[in-house]
């Protein structure tokens, strides 16, 4: 019988950067009841007008296979690559984290930021905005540590990922 274990997959999709293409991809996921854990998109080749979408999704192996097949048959989709399946890949997220406070807590937040190699990109007398890049786990850990120190706002990009080695998508 079919495997019912839930797997998390990072999928990279190269698409024509045209009106409605993101709506097509998102509509596919919502219409067919697939999960999106995160989704990022930006143009990667202005000349050929190509965008790259990185989707983190989860499902049984059969569902993940369906997701890839469904993405592949969208007309503006050039390539679908399952980074999780195709070998080692690098995945990174960027977060901007706003912390408000004073005194010892303020100093402590700076110290932790230093350990995590997070930079200060904005500062007032009572607040910092930290910029941090890394794996999802690293950012989760940073956010947890900031919570008792006056965390008030977070903006995260979701994962962007690329295969290790010399081969392009």
């Amino acid at each position: 019988m079919s495997d019912t274990s839930i797997e998390r997959h990072v999928i990279a999709v190269l698409v024509d950067n045209e009106a409605g293409v993101l709506a097509r991809v998102i509509g596919l996921f919502s219409g067919r009841g697939y999960n999106i854990e995160s989704l990022t998109v930006a143009e990667v080749d202005a000349q050929k007008s190509l965008s790259r979408i990185t989707i983190v999704t989860s499902g049984t192996p059969q569902i993940v296979e369906q997701i890839k097949a469904q993405l592949n048959r969208l007309v503006p989709v050039h390539r679908v690559s399952d980074l999780t399946e195709e070998g080692a890949h690098v995945a990174r997220e960027l977060a901007l984290v706003k912390v408000r406070g004073s005194g010892e807590k303020r100093v402590e937040s700076l110290r932790i930021a230093d350990i995590f190699r997070a930079g200060v990109v904005d500062s007032t007398a009572r607040s910092f905005v930290f910029e941090i890049t890394g794996s999802t786990e690293k950012i989760d850990a940073f956010v947890r540590l900031m919570e008792p120190l006056g965390l008030v706002d977070i903006s995260r990009t979701g994962i962007v990922a690329i295969a290790r080695g010399e081969k392009p998508i």
Binding site: D16, G20, A23, Q66, A69, R73, V75, V77, H78
Partner: protein, 587 residues
Amino acid sequence: MANGKLTGSEILLKVLTEEGTEVVFGYPGGAVLPIYDALFKQKAVRHVLVRQEGGAVHAAEGYARSTGKVGVVLVTSGPGATNAVTGLTDALMDSIPIVCLTGQVPTHLIGNDAFQEADTTGITRPCTKHNYLVKDVNDLARVLREAFYVARSGRPGPVVIDLPKDVLQGLAGYAPAPKKQEHKSYNPQVRGDTDAVNRAVDLLAGAKRPIFYTGGGVINSGPRASKLLTEFVRKTGVPITNTLMGLGAYPASDKQFVGMLGMHGTYEANLAMYNCDVMVCVGARFDDRVTGKITEFAPKSKKIHIDIDPSSINKNVLVDIPIVGDCATVLAQMMKRWDEKKYKTDGKALAKWWKDIDGWRGRNCLAYEKTSKIIKPQYALERLQALTEGKDVYFTTEVGQHQMWAAQFLKFNKPNRWLTSGGLGTMGYGLPAAIGVQVAHPKSLVVDVAGEASILMNIQELSTAAQYRLPVKIFILNNQYMGMVRQWQELLHGGRYSESYMASLPDFVKLADSFQGVGLIAEKPSEVDDVIREMMKIDRFVIADIRVDQSENCFPMIPSGAAHYEMLLGPADKAAKPISEEGMVLV
């Protein structure tokens, strides 16, 4: 023409002609007036005026399905486009190539809630294979050509092109289509992987209880696919069953044909599927109406699946050998391998397999009570089959009991002769589809097998039939109920016939008369033949109102959620096999 330039509307008609479009089914409105003006000034493309945009899409589907060409639809913005949505969804589910041109408010008004504005590309995104909004008249020709390419390539489907009025009126240069058209991202795989084809043929050669299970993909692939399928099946001596959409791909009169499979398929087809050891699925998609309970679907079999759409593979049922490719191409590859290897099916095993199948056939699952008192719907269809046998005839249907009886009792020996709404199950499909078929085949006999409930859903199209003198025959099996709803209420809801009785039906004879057609009635079995003969003689549209048994149910039936071997063969069976609670939730 100004400075050698053409308007968007003129370019549009040029490209339609390039693409071989002879007929457009449509309905005018403010946003598409420039196209209608351009249509008025030319003769290459004919326009058929429907009475509601939904009818235009179904008519184009009928045209496309019966000719193998792309059907073209032209509707206005706003309600014109939203009325087309059901037809587009229907064409998507049944893989029918359609190009639907929708008008749109001028580009500077888009997003302003202008009069007759709707977000057409937004609304139709999930119900089309692809859609476009053309914002620059210089892109128009390219987008149109691409739309035709997408509609007909790979797994066919509907494509919408939204055309703002200023784009239709704008000027641009026009150059004829480049000879070679290659799409930058959409290039479906046509040829099957050789290794997979070889393994599939080897598997089939060693089978003891093989079966071919084939669907609408064979018909979409073109007549060559049906021809190759027929040759291959005959060469191997293997039994074959067709899906609802696949009827006609293999001659129904052939002894190797075991009938349609699925919920209302034959006993022999379903039991052969349950017991087979090798299944060759060609251009079918393991729909829930076909598989029944998925965990008990052909549990002892190795499965080969040929489909041009990779997303059909392993969607509902995991298969052992998937082959992505066009049905005709892959069938030719398979036959080549079969011949090269000088394969022969295991004669002894096959003889035993056929003995089993003949045993199931012996149950005569389509039998019904013969009576001279009341017209049984099955009898009416048997007579319709007998009296149209050998004629150049096309059948369309609406949706419900009559559709299933038509699939069971009409015999299709050729592809493209049977048009029905399979995937979406759209009541109201049959009449406009028949109109589309008749436009494409003016001399042929075109019959819409209908129910009295379905026919009322697009009854306005009688006016279209009258205007273009299309002699379609509407054969209504009138039981004064939404028959399939009533059947399910009887079997699943304690006989509480909630809202399924069709009260206040029109007098169909007077109705036909008022639309300049002819109405006929049969109330007794002895009158059926005369009505059919009379109907075929009349060169106008005819409504034949066949008053059938109100309580007849469509058997055999696999209740939802049940396995193939749990078929109900008739009324006596239903008490013995009560329907499970899990089954009740399913549609």
